[in-house]
Symmetry: D2
Subunit: 368 residues, 4 copies
């Protein structure tokens, strides 16, 4: 899949700020693995959907907590598992993203996967599984009410999750997505952060399904107004899920603050956070390793970055999110619509994008 | 099932304050329907689990919003659908409660049920389903990791939901529950409220799976300390889900405030809100009927009770929750444990309870 | 003042559970100092008001962060400084409680005190002061609209703050308070907690100004209904502020969870959290000492109690809050009303209270 | 003051999107009045501070509720009165903005003003005042620790508040502000919104004191990087308060959602929401008039815009906030620093700004 992939934002010359990690992906954060299950059938009914799985501590044999915080800019969507994130600042298990109507079956599969993979822990203690499952709506390109995602599909995404490069565009949960009137989907980016001598990585993965054409803004350039869509003006129908990860020494509260910055990251892309958009953001941190609750000594130690040094981390989060959305769109391809039938959601063509960017002198680097 | 049911709290003479509705159940709120799917097998493995379904506007042919607010006293649990409740103050569709590891399959079934029942709306518009699914952990009495709840089980709970009396104890999602070291489960109660001439009903339904023996308090009497458990002291492993409903003219913010009062209602029963307990509360209101979003006129009218008159509503909520927990326990029966095997979770025996209540003069009515 | 003080709850024989610290006061937490400024004039106008000051790290010469979380059961009141507590989980500086209309002048004084006491830090860095100032309404006993609290009064509370026994009842901010139709005011209590071998103290200080007579419940006994007030039924007009402190190794999120438990603590006293009551709770922890932000190394270490061991801490918080409210009331004296004039708010008489407690066998210890 | 004012963003030709109201100010919302008290002394010590007052229903003789919601992108600051806004969705009284250390005295003055202006209500009922007072830090230009704002100053801002044009830049609370390394201060803008045939106005007023030079972005153009500051890189020390107002028929929850959009509005200006920045946003609505609580009939009616039609409102809020920040900066003048002494905070010069805008073709209108 990666051999035929389309060029990413930086590859076509977009002058994104900051220094990405080697993969420019969420998998630049050590241990984070990503897997996909992509489900396509030409139909009828047309099926374009799937599951994306993110395993925060993929190298660990045992289940262990991941520090986390979340924020909903506009909670018109689902992200399970957040009550405990809000309360205690951590979660155990994977993060999955799928279509709106497959949250249940994917959650079911995630519980199966957790109780199987960590069977020793689940058998010997009264553990319970509360996986994170988020979603965006793919009913424009996919027969969403047909509930075509199966438990096996979700397990496949988990079982094939790996570190390394991350596929983008119409893969996994991103398969049926539409962003700013163009084909959307899965996108990722990362930043190397150094603050007060503390170095680490922050990575973002988005499932971009939000925005209408006229809102689209790339690096400050009002691209959408210069690439107008044919036909009547659209309404916001979508959503965007943002997952941020970092290996910096961060507290749960700091991770919640980082999650809040995703609002700015997507806002710079043009969306004001539409009413129908489920704009929900999760940030997790693997920088502190502690034993699973219900075991170990009564107290543990956390190493925490002084809040005073957070600004570069916040900037990195904003930048990675903004870039990940553009990457998601550049990886797209023209796709026929399921509902209403007969339409096409076009890919964002690099040449057309760059033409507008050049017009505003934001392509050749002078913009930076 | 109701013919052989055990006597409820008021029937054994507990002097609960306030005036309940005719059924002393959440179904005293007009239109609210409740259904159960109860799954039992002696095994091995022993199965004691199920699904509870609450349909807020059961009489409506079309899907329409229900005003709502929620509160987590201790978010160590799951309740899906709450992001939109928090953001916009309403939800559409049913509320289901099951065991922790069946949240996914029940959510899947709820989506199927919604997209089928309201097919006309889902086909003609880009609607999406975000049902409320909550849970408590039944691994002490049930092979929870066996994932024995099926889509058909959940659909059965929805399809058999009715107005009228509500079964209590080991039914539906409450089948495998343990509360304060006794058999717990499903419980319900209601109150008639009149405030400033505005009259209505507030009903509570709980899935009670929380607390350790020594904490148990009934109407202020430290029952648990006078009915000590054999064996080593237990740890809190459970949770309690509280669903409150009302037909009073209430805003979403007011419903959130009512949901918060469930913390006091359960707290009077003895729990301090244990760390492992998912104490999550939802309050919904059917007192204002408005068309589904995406249709109708651009503005609508809500009738709202002046905040000044809320105190009797808050009291009623506290009282109904406290009583519903006791009802859940009084409906229980001795149940063998699944894990560890060989044990028994005893029923709370009315005679033993009343003996303690009498000792503190809270049985014969002089307490009131 | 302490020599003529009235007997506290345990001294009159109320069987409160748990083990208090040596002072049974918030000052059992090492370093916590409390001071009062009590303002009384017979008038006209009648003045009964004041300021309570709590200094979390009174022994420290430099300003340093205190870990904290807060919760509003019913946010009909003011507590400044909470935005940063919610965001970053700490605050610097003192906590003050006064009447509703003196929040401003007390805040002004607190800023003066901070910028003077920590002048070196404020001069050399761009520090800013965001003190915590909370309030309850004393317009029934005090000419609250006369704004009689001065900057000097507030400074006096801060300057006279000390470790050691804490005065209760009509002192400081508690001077003009009414609770459950009796004279209310300042109350305190503490608990020694040992959990998984980790030992510490949790202390509570309340400014109790909430509830109506018929709600009053002491250790589960419906005292209010057996000590009915003369005259027409009252409406809830008051509020209660709860400050919890601990030297246990706790995170900010854990402190927020502890603050939430104050809802149960006051709820057991009878209030359902009335609409007009500002029921706002702050919990702070001095168990981890770290340098002030804007200095020191880029990362720091926190020691945190495993969540699994929190239940005894939650219980202790609930118990200390419940006891502190009763202590506040037992320290009261009959007080003429300011508005409407000619009335009297009576003290809760120990003999009358105990008579009801005995009736329900909760005085002689058999209740426990 | 207005006769010599500097040209605003639209006047110098910046192509801001959308249609502003007649004044392009928060006072385009009917009834909203704004007043300032500006305090300047050359010193020593140099004083540059003041108070801004916003009266939501300035025409009303009686105190009445204003529907509201708030959001803190980064709660490193103060905004009093928000507990009740969060709980019940309304507030009574004015909104004031000043410097960080004058919150208290301004709150004190606001209580005086409320209890005086609405004396009949405060005397006849047990009303309490909980004004909204917010702040940003002006210690770079002002002797903030000198506490130079007096009660009389704050009263002056309230007493001189008027509808009509609003002064910008170094006036009122904005007097000592620094934004993106330039002189900041008070700024305002508005938008006419028509959605589904419902027409209204949304206005923004900001006290802009946030950001470092390199972050500054105007209409997507990276202005800050092209107008680099002399000297060492700065750290974020500031904050921004955003007040949004509207006469559309909005619920409290909708107003909270509008307040959240201010994060995107300021984020497009370049800030990622720095750690030291108190980025707190309030949105209030005057579109529904209801009697003060404690009076009137037991229920009331609210007219509410269907959520489906909110997107243009969200866009308008984002746009008005972005424009108000630029207006605040364009109204500035070179100002000597107080701490450290000897420096100068420069004004943002229109010609320099426009030079950069032209470079990126965002000045002559082709950009739009």
């Amino acid at each position: 899949m990666l051999t035929t992939r389309r060029p990413r934002g930086r590859e076509v010359g977009l002058p994104f700020p900051g220094t990405p990690g080697p993969l420019n992906a969420i998998t630049d954060v050590p241990g984070v693995a990503v897997g996909f299950s992509t489900i396509k059938a030409e139909g009828p009914p047309q099926i374009r959907t799937g599951v994306t799985a993110i395993i925060p501590r993929s190298a660990d044999a045992a289940m262990s907590p991941v520090w986390a915080g979340y924020h909903a800019l506009n909670g018109n969507g689902e992200m399970t598992g957040t009550h405990w994130v809000e309360e205690a600042g951590y979660f155990c298990g994977p993060v999955l993203i799928t279509n709106t109507h497959s949250v249940g079956i994917v959650h079911h599969a995630a519980v199966r996967w957790m109780t199987t993979r960590y069977a020793a822990q689940f058998e010997s203690r009264h553990l319970w599984a509360m996986p994170i499952v988020a979603e965006t709506y793919d009913g424009t390109l996919n027969d969403i009410n047909g509930l075509h995602v199966t438990e096996a599909d979700a397990l496949q995404a988990l079982q094939t999750a790996g570190t390394g490069p991350v596929a983008e565009g119409s893969v996994g949960g991103g398969t049926g997505m539409v962003a700013y009137g163009f084909k959307g989907g899965t996108g990722t980016a990362s930043r190397i952060v150094e603050t007060a001598g503390v170095k680490g990585t922050i990575g973002a993965l988005v499932q971009a399904n939000h925005g209408i054409r006229e809102w689209l803004t790339v690096l400050g350039v009002p691209v959408g107004r210069h690439l107008p869509a044919a036909g009547p003006p659209a309404r916001e129908q979508g959503s965007i899920i943002v997952i941020l990860a970092s290996d910096l020494p961060l507290s749960s509260l700091q991770l919640r603050r980082i999650a809040k910055r995703a609002a700015i990251g997507i806002g710079r892309g043009g969306t004001p956070g539409g009413n129908n958009s489920g704009d929900i953001f999760l940030a997790f941190g693997v920088g502190n390793t502690v034993p699973l609750p219900q075991g170990g000594p009564p107290t543990y130690q956390l190493t925490i970055l002084d809040d005073e040094h957070l600004d570069p981390v916040f900037e990195a989060a904003v930048e990675a999110v903004e870039e990940a959305v553009v990457n998601a769109m550049l990886a797209g391809e023209d796709t026929p619509t399921f509902r209403p039938p007969g339409g096409v959601v076009p890919a964002l063509r690099p040449d057309e994008l760059l033409s507008v960017m050049r017009r505003f002198r934001r392509h050749d680097g002078t913009g930076e």
